[in-house]
Every structure is written in C-alpha cells, then in structure tokens.
C-alpha cells in the first residue's frame, strides 16, 4: 500500500529511511521521524478504535497529548502494552499496533449495538441500573462491567524492560520548549544558572515548528534550532526531549518521565526503556503552552474530524495531509493558517467562520489565495459512519441559536478550532488557584504558591511578540535571583500576523428534527445530552457533574473537553463560567507506565535483604527461609520429603530431648552506655532495674505511654555503666527511636547514649537439656555449672581465641544459652557448634520450631503483643513495679484497664486432640448462632505441642482466666473450620519454669 496522503516537499521526517509496521495485522510503511499516528494518516488510515461506552468508530483527532481517541495496544520489543497514544509513540521498525475496545474487529464491532441502544446508556447508567439486588453485584454486574468497560489488555507477563530513577537538582526547570520556554531558558542560562529544559516531544520548538512567524528574519523552526544549538553548547544546561514533566509536588519537587528506549530500533541490555526524574528545582518556569479546543457539533466524533492545529502539524512536521477535501470550521483566526497550509500543498479547503465578515492579515491572506470563506457559518452535523463523507452546514441566525438554512457539502475531513486553552495542569498541581480570563474564555494561573511562574500561552498570552519579550525578561529575572548576575540579551524582533478576537461560540445548534449525539468528552463518551441530564437530575457542583457523567475523568484529563463542559453547564445554569468553577487537576498530567514508577525496585531489589553471617550455612543445609522484616530467617531445615509441620516437630522435639541451635542474629541489639543507664532502664521498663548486678541479665517489658505492651527482651549489665539490650526482631527499629525520643526530648538531663549493635553481633541460641554439655565442649576452661553460670547469668569468654558473650537466657523454656560473637566469626562459631554437638545429637532449628517451643511454654510474642494488650492481659502483671514510675504506668489505672472481664491470655486445646486451630479464629460459644455471632476472643498463636503431641493454641479471650475448663468453638470462616476447644492455662509445658533453672 502506498502512502497516499504523504506530501513530497514538506515535513521534518527522514524520507531516506522507510520503516515498516503493522496495524491490525496489515503491513504498512512510514518514515523515520513519524509517529504511529502520522504514519497511519499517511496511509489514509483514520479508523483507529471504538469509543468507550457506545463503541462508536473513532479516528485520530489530535497530534500529541491532546489526542483522546487513538489509544492502541502496541507490541514494542516483544512486549504488549495497552492504551498507548498513537500520536505520542515514534515509529520504529517492526512495531505492531492493534485497536482496542472492539470485537471481533475495529471495522465490525458487536459492541456498537450500544450505539443504537444509547438511550439506555445515559449519564449515571451504572449507578442507576446496578443498584440492586445486592447479590447480583459480584456475580453478574461487576464481571459484566469489567468485561464491557476498560480499553486495552494489560500484559500478564513479567516486564523484561529496564526502568531507572534519577535524582537531579537545578536552579531552574523549564517545562516546554515552545517560544516562551526557549526564550526564558536561554536568558536564564546566559546568567550561568543551572537549567533543565524539558520537552515532551522528540523535537524541540513547540508551536514554533508549525506557526507562520518570523523572528530575526528566521522562520520559527530556524530560530528554535539556533537557540537549541546554543543551549547545547552550554555546560550549565541540560536539554531533555521526549521528557514529560507530569507531576508538581511540594517544595518544588517535580517528576519527569523520559522515554529513553522506545524510539530506538536496537538497544543494549542495560539501556533503560524509560527513566523517572525527581527534579528538585530552586525555581520553575512553566511554559506548557496551550491546547486547541474543539467546537461541539452533531456527530463531531466521526473519524476524519481533527483539531485544526493537529492538521497543520501533520502537514508541516510530518508531510501528511489528513484529507484532500477539507472543511475548516473555526471561531477564530488561527485555523486560517491550517487552511493556507492546505492551499500551499495544492488542496482547496473551505473555511466556515462563525464570526461575521472579518478583516485581518490572516483572513486577507486566505482571501488573496482564493480560499473560499463562509462567514457566519457553522457545521451542524457530520455525515459518515467510519469516515466523514459530507457535512450539513448552515448560516447561523443572528443570535446563533439556529440555522437560517442547511446545505450539505462534500468533504473528507473537518478541521475544527474553538480557540485555545492554556495548559494549566502543572500550575494547578503546584497548589495555585486558577482565575478565569474572559478575553480568552479560559482559566489562567492566579498567584504562585511555590517558587514558580507560568509564562507564554500557558498564561494566556497568545501573541508571539509579547510572549518572547516577556519570556526573555522572566528568564533573566529568575536567573538574577539565583545567580545575582545581570544579563543583557538583545530581544529578537518578531513579525507575526495580527489576529482578531475569537467568537464566543463553542457548540453548534442542532438542525430541525435531528438529534445526533454531540460529544463533549470523546475519551469517556460524554455528550451534551448527558450533561443536560445530570443537571436536570439536580447535580449542581461541577465536581458532582464530573463524577456523575465522567466528564474529564479519562486519561486525557479532559484536555479538550473541560472548558466546553463548563460552558455547557454555565449556559444551562445561566451562570458565567467562573461561577461554575473548575475541577482540580492531579498528577500524572499524562499517563505513566507502572514500570517507570517502580524503577529498579523490582524482584529482590524491591527492598534490601538482611542476611545473618550464617546464611550460607543455612542454604547448604536445606533451610527453607521466611521473611522477618527485611531479614531472611530459616523457617525449618528440610530433611528428605518432610513438610513444614513434620520438620518443625522434629526440630522442636530435639530441643526438648537433646539440644538444638538457632540463629538469633536478627534480634535487635542496642548498646546502652553512660552513668545514668540504670535510671534510664528503670524508666523505660516496667520492672525494677536499679539493683541489677554486673554480670546479670534481666527480662524486661516496655510499654507505650497508652499502657500497651510495646516490646520485651532481656537486658544485661556488661559493666558498671554499660548495658546490652535485646529487642524482638520486628520492633528493633521502633525501640531504638523510642529510646532516642526519651533521651533527646523528655529526659535530656540523663547522661546516656544508645546505639544499635544488631549487625555487630552474630547470635546463636543453644537450647535443650544437653545444652550445658555442649557449652562445656565449647568453653572447656569455663565454669558452666548451675552455680558458675546460673539462670540469667552472663560471662565473657574466649572461643578458640574469639571473644564471646555468653548469656544464660531462654526463649524455649529449656535450659538454654545464647552466644554472641563478632559478626565475622558467626559462621565459624556456628560450624564449631555443629561439629562439637554431633555426639549430643545437636540439630539446627528454625523459626517454626522456635514458635512451637515458646507457644507451648506460654511465652508471649508478636501475635499476643499486638498493640492492644496491657501487661495483665498477657499474664505479665508480675513484671509491673508498684513502687516506681515508668513509661505508660499512669495509663494502667484507667477504668477500662482495671476491669476484671478484659480479654486475657489463655491456652486452647481441641477437644478431639487432633484438629489444628487456625490462627485468627474467633472464639464463640454457639457455633450455630445467628450472625453476627458474638466474639469472645481470638486465637493468636497455634502450634503442635511436641511435649503433649497434640495441637495447642494461645488465645486472647474475654474474662479468660475464669473460662478455664470450659468448652467453646473456634471458628475460622477463612479456613472453613469450626473446632470445639477447651480452655486451659496458657502455660502448657513446665508451668513452674523449673527447666530453665536446672
């Protein structure tokens, strides 16, 4: 197929490089420098998709981010991605695109039946129709809506591309490289300021590439090229094309999305596809330009209807004509340039101008070139289904509410211009209010909230002379603030054609006896009648009208629809637009891939992995790991075909019968030093600390100020003014912050320092009746007898020359020790333990066995200390000093905390002694009670007791201690289990605690 609509002598594309691509399975050709959109149009392909709600045929409409229709499913580099704007993606060899939201094909789409049933799909259709019955929602309505709605299909494959993040700091960020962006960036750069200039498109220059202007005797494009080449030479300037600034956040942080890969035919393995920039800029100049808005008329969504500016861009940038029999429909002068451009390329357009006969430079130009102009005329209805074939046009009556006559003219495209809307999204995101400018019928930025200004068309300045002059000045002023340097730049002389004011005409009346749809929002299929309906139904706030009709809520954020929607609402309401107000713009300004947002934080880079020094040994010995925060901990060591339960039973049993070792490196460790350390601990912990002798450890419980248990652990007095605190793995970071808070803010008079030493020490717990024997083998010279190293004792010794700390503490309830050595010796110490313990039948045990041991002992841990329990709830009242004050003590006498029937810790066994009770089960007295079944408590931790060989659980239960001996049900709807349970003491094994002291 030939490129039937390609022009020969115009455009910025490279005709020497032909590129093949596929659209809906058909092979087509374009040139290097094309977008997918321009290449499709060169091949006279207009129909690109079906509309969201009614499945109406839709064609290309814009030429950049203004495009509402051409969202395609595109395969790039072997990966399929939905909702890609055809106007924004550059043509590369082998690209393959398909239409979305149509089945079986874009040419014949069954969903188009919605178009004929459109009276059944008014605004608020989903809200009204799917209200009841409730049970239908999940089964019938939601699947239906999900299937019918949505555009493209997200890939379920792993994204193979690479995405990067970059942090950048600069003096000035300029967003947009049109005339105002170039002039201001140039002026600022000349003063030496560090400038970043960001341009969304591949080519710098913005409107200078297409507008017919003269700057210092150069064309717009030539002048832009000259400025860019100068900026390129400046070391203080970063020029970024293909880069969209899409978010403006606090403290002048902006985010930018750079397309680094998709335009390349081949790229190396590590070349990123896209890059996200976090830019912290001292000052920001928003030169985001403006977007043309359409005029609304009947069937204005028919393929072949374009923004006039887009049609001009396709000719001047891509050498493509969007049609050969164009109608130009306008309420202002700018579209005349489009008409003249057609004429220059040998095509005869007809201009319909809603204004009375005018006399301006551009209009006279058009007249002189013999272009047919019909003043006071408008398009009423476009004819044609998949492509415009003709249009009903007519002469407007004097107040423009109807037509004096209607005639049909043949055409193959309609280029429409309803004047220009400043792109105020970023300024709005910065926190600025917008104000309505009556002269241009659009919103412009009000006062700046952050260090930013908006200039040029984005600020409503639509003449080039004024824009360039003011932009040079703004750039120089901003730079002066930053560099304190004055720059003198010769402002260029600008020649442009004077334009007359636009006509406040935004929507054509309907011809008599016809009622075609007139679309306001193309992407979300919102028509004039939908908005009228919303107002009839009583919606008044523009925010409500927006949500009810979905006006402006599509991914294009209403770029071409917002103002027309506001005009319609204000007309019906008899208000002026500023009274109706506007909706809020939020980031992202344009859609951003999830890959870019995620960046390199994928897979195991998602978060840092913390490994103990013994990690490699665990791997070699078939450890199955579990995540504990960022740590990897062995959950169990698999032998043969063992499953989790079998392995943890074996490991726990071996601790109870012989000796086991467990890697406890992950426990939080905090060094506490200073003369007031004892006093500090005494305030932090609930129990007494003033009299702990050197060489002794103590179990401590700490509360939050609200009385809830925060953490527990042992703290050892190493020397007079030196303590070693341990915390749970999970709370290590919080406890350190907590201690620092009290030392730095509440009690700065205490002379104490704290520092985390978690990573400095490797820890191994040795537990079981044979642990003393093992310790003796390790430290042959040490007195490890019950007298020499009693329960809660601490000694320092040397392990084959390596300094070691030995604590006699127990988490398992067995006779147990914990050995700490400097991290680098962790692995060798561990190996020594395994080697020397062989004849004692030592086995490593993981967190699952560790839990089993502590649960059957009734030791509380994270699931019980969940921030909702006070000490007495978990049978730790004995730890609470009555004599001294400490953090959280005052809360413990609150009425709710001294009530007798609080939920307290108990033990549970299934009455059949067989069924494991799922953690999280609710305890109820009647398993068949009507819902909601009153909940008496919940199961916090469950295990298989190796001591008693049956399941055992800990539970937090209302009036728990008085329930011992009674029977209840543990119900878990999640696991579909109901188990009869008997309440017993939470200390299931060795309730007197004799073993640890043995």
């Amino acid at each position: 197929m030939t490129q039937s609509h390609r022009l020969n002598n115009i455009g910025l594309i490279n005709r020497n490089k032909k590129i093949s691509f596929k659209f809906n399975g058909k092979k087509l050709f374009g040139f290097e420098g094309d977008t997918l959109a321009s290449a499709l149009l060169a091949n006279n392909v207009h129909l690109v998709g079906r509309s969201f709600k009614y499945h109406r045929p839709r064609g290309l409409f814009g030429a950049g981010i203004d495009e509402p229709n051409a969202k395609l499913q595109v395969v790039i580099n072997g990966q399929s991605e939905p909702n890609i704007n055809a106007t924004e993606i550059e043509l590369v060899e082998g690209i393959s695109a398909t239409s979305q939201n149509c089945w079986p094909s874009v040419e014949f789409d069954i969903g188009a039946i919605n178009n004929f049933l459109k009276s059944f799909f008014p605004a608020g259709f989903y809200y009204k129709t799917f209200m009841w019955p409730k049970s239908f929602w999940y089964r019938v309505y939601e699947p239906f809506i999900r299937k019918a709605a949505g555009l493209g299909v997200g890939s379920t494959e792993k994204d193979k591309e690479r995405y990067e993040h970059k942090y950048e700091y600069c003096d000035l960020l300029v967003t947009g490289s049109g005339p105002s962006g170039l002039a201001s960036a140039y002026a600022a750069a000349k003063s030496g300021a560090k400038v970043i200039l960001a341009e969304d498109k591949p080519r710098f220059g913005g409107s200078l590439l297409t507008d017919d202007v003269n700057i210092d005797n150069l064309s717009g494009k030539q002048w832009a090229d000259k400025i860019i080449s100068e900026l390129k030479e400046m070391p203080n300037v970063t020029l970024k094309n293909r880069s969209q600034v899409f978010g403006y956040y606090d403290h002048n942080m902006l985010v930018m999305f750079e397309r680094t890969g998709d335009h390349l035919e081949k790229k190396s393995k590590y070349h990123p596809r896209q890059r996200l920039w976090y830019i912290r800029s001292k000052e920001v100049i928003l030169s985001t330009g403006s977007i043309e808005r359409p005029i609304v008329f009947g069937n204005n969504d028919t393929p072949g209807i374009f923004l006039a500016s887009a049609a001009k861009e396709y000719m001047k940038v891509y050498g493509v004509v969007v049609g050969k029999k164009p109608l130009i429909f306008t309420n202002n002068d700018s579209a005349y340039e489009t008409a003249i451009e057609f004429k220059k390329n040998g095509i005869d357009p007809i201009i319909l101008d809603t204004r009375e006969e005018q006399d301006t430079d551009l209009i006279n130009d058009a007249k002189n070139q013999g272009i047919k102009i019909k003043f006071s005329h408008a398009v009423a209805v476009a004819n044609g289904y998949k492509k415009v074939k003709s249009a009903k046009i007519g002469k407007l009556n004097s107040n423009k509410t109807g037509f004096e006559n209607i005639e049909t003219v043949e055409c193959d495209c309609i280029c429409v211009s309803g004047f220009w809307t400043p792109t105020v999204h970023l300024t709005s995101q910065s926190g600025n209010k917008l104000k309505f400018n009556k002269d241009i019928d659009a919103f412009v930025p009000d006062k700046s909230k952050q260090k930013e200004i908006t200039i040029g068309a984005a600020n409503g300045s639509f003449t080039l002379k004024e824009t360039i002059e003011k932009s040079f000045e703004s750039g120089a002023n901003v730079a002066k603030k930053l560099t304190e340097k004055e720059v003198n730049i010769q402002v260029p002389s600008v020649t442009e054609k004077k334009q007359k004011t636009h006509d406040k005409f935004w929507c054509s009346p309907l011809p008599k006896n016809e009622n075609p749809k007139r679309f306001v929002d193309f992407q979300n299929d919102v028509s004039v009648s939908d908005i009228e309906l919303a107002l009839r139904e009583g919606y008044r706030s523009i925010e409500h009208v927006k949500r009810y009709t979905t006006l402006g809520m599509a991914t294009d954020q209403g770029r071409t629809s917002n103002l027309n929607g506001l005009q319609l609402v204000s007309n019906i309401e008899n208000k002026i637009v500023p009274e109706v107000g506007h909706t809020t713009f939020r980031p992202p300004f344009t859609p951003v891939t999830i890959g870019t947002i995620v960046g390199r934080e994928v897979g195991h880079h998602y978060m840092p992995t913390r490994k103990s020094p013994m990690h490699e040994w665990h791997i070699k010995n078939n450890a199955v790991f579990v995540d504990a925060g960022a740590w990897k901990r062995p959950r169990y060591y698999k032998q043969g075909n063992e499953n989790l339960l079998e392995a943890s039973k074996r490991e726990a049993k071996n601790v109870r019968e012989n000796v086991g070792i467990c890697d406890v490196t992950t426990l939080g460790k905090i060094d506490i030093k200073g003369p007031d350390s004892a006093e500090f601990l005494n305030r932090v912990y609930t129990n007494a600390w003033m009299k702990l002798p050197v060489g002794k450890a103590r179990y401590g419980l700490m509360l939050r100020e609200d009385g809830m248990v925060m953490d527990d652990g042992t703290t050892t007095r190493i020397s007079e003014n030196h303590y070693h605190m341990t915390t749970t793995t999970a709370q290590a970071a919080n406890v350190l912050s907590h201690l620092e808070y009290y030392l730095q803010i509440v009690w700065p008079e205490l002379n104490v320092n704290v520092v985390s030493t978690t990573e400095q020490w490797a820890g191994a717990a040795i537990a079981g009746p044979k642990s003393r024997e093992l310790l003796k083998k390790l430290f042959p010279d040490l007195d490890v007898s019950n007298e020499g190293l009693p329960f809660m004792g601490y000694v320092e010794s040397s392990l084959f020359g390596v300094p070691a700390k030995i604590f006699r503490i127990s988490f398992s309830g067995e006779l147990a020790y914990e050995i700490n050595v400097e991290s680098d010796y962790g692995l060798s110490t561990w190996e020594k333990l395994m080697e020397l313990g062989k004849e004692l039948r030592v086995q490593p045990y993981g967190t699952e066995a560790l839990s089993t041991l502590r649960i059957e002992m009734g030791h509380v841990a994270g699931p019980e200390l969940d921030g909702r329990t006070i000490p007495s709830d978990v049978s730790l009242d004995g730890m609470v000093s009555k004599k001294k004050d400490f953090i959280g003590k005052r809360s413990l006498v609150k009425e709710a905390f001294i009530k007798n029937d609080r939920q307290k810790i108990v033990g549970l066994v299934p009455t059949d002694r067989k069924s494991s009770i799922p953690e999280g089960s609710h305890i109820v007295s009647d398993k068949n009670a009507k819902l909601p079944n009153p909940k008496l408590g919940h199961v916090s931790s469950s295990c298989w007791s190796v001591e008693n060989n049956n399941p055992f659980s800990l539970a937090i239960m209302k009036d728990g201690k008085n329930m011992i001996g009674k029977k209840f049900f543990a119900v878990s709807p999640v696991h579909k289990k109901t188990i009869e349970v008997e309440v017993i003491s939470s200390h299931y094994v060795d309730s007197k605690g004799e073993r640890v002291r043995s």
Partner: protein, 89 residues
C-alpha cells in the same frame, strides 16, 4: 516530597526522616500526681491546626537526632527548624 533542613546535617529529602507529631506536648513529670484529664490530654489529645504547626521530626536515616520544625499544614512550607533545646519563634 518535602525538603527538610536537619539542624545538624542540613537540607535533606523527606525520605530520610520520620514524623514525630506535635512538638509542644509536654510529658507530665515522673512520680507526680497527674489527673485523668491531664494524662489523657498528653496521651491522646492533639490539635490539628490549619496553618503553622510546630512538630517533631526524627532524622532516622541520618544523624538520628530528633528536632523541631515549624510547618504550614496547608502549604507544607517549613518556616524554621531547630534543635530540641532551641526555641522556635
């Protein structure tokens, strides 16, 4: 993302800090008689002012110092930061 000036380290990204709430809250003295109301006010009751708010921040991924900042809760402008023992005007 805010840009916060740690009084010890200088300007750093918000990522490095943790928020610590109202800096004007005073903990009742240890071993003193504290009424229920006083205690509840200290533990639970916080103002949520529109505008200037003096609050605590903790430079957790930096020097680990707590410090005070005065921030506008609507615009997020930070007027001043100070060490704990310094006054905010």
């Amino acid at each position: 993302m805010l840009h916060i000036k740690c009084p010890y380290c200088g300007i750093r990204s918000q990522k490095e800090f943790a928020y610590g709430g109202d800096a004007t809250v005073k903990r009742p003295k240890l071993n003193s008689e504290v009424s229920d109301k006083e205690w509840d006010d200290f533990v639970y009751m916080r103002k949520s002012p529109r505008g200037k708010h003096t609050e605590l921040w903790h430079h957790i991924s930096g020097c680990r110092q707590w410090f005070k900042a005065q921030r506008d809760t609507t615009t997020h402008e930070i007027f001043e930061t100070a060490k704990i023992n310094e006054e905010i005007k």
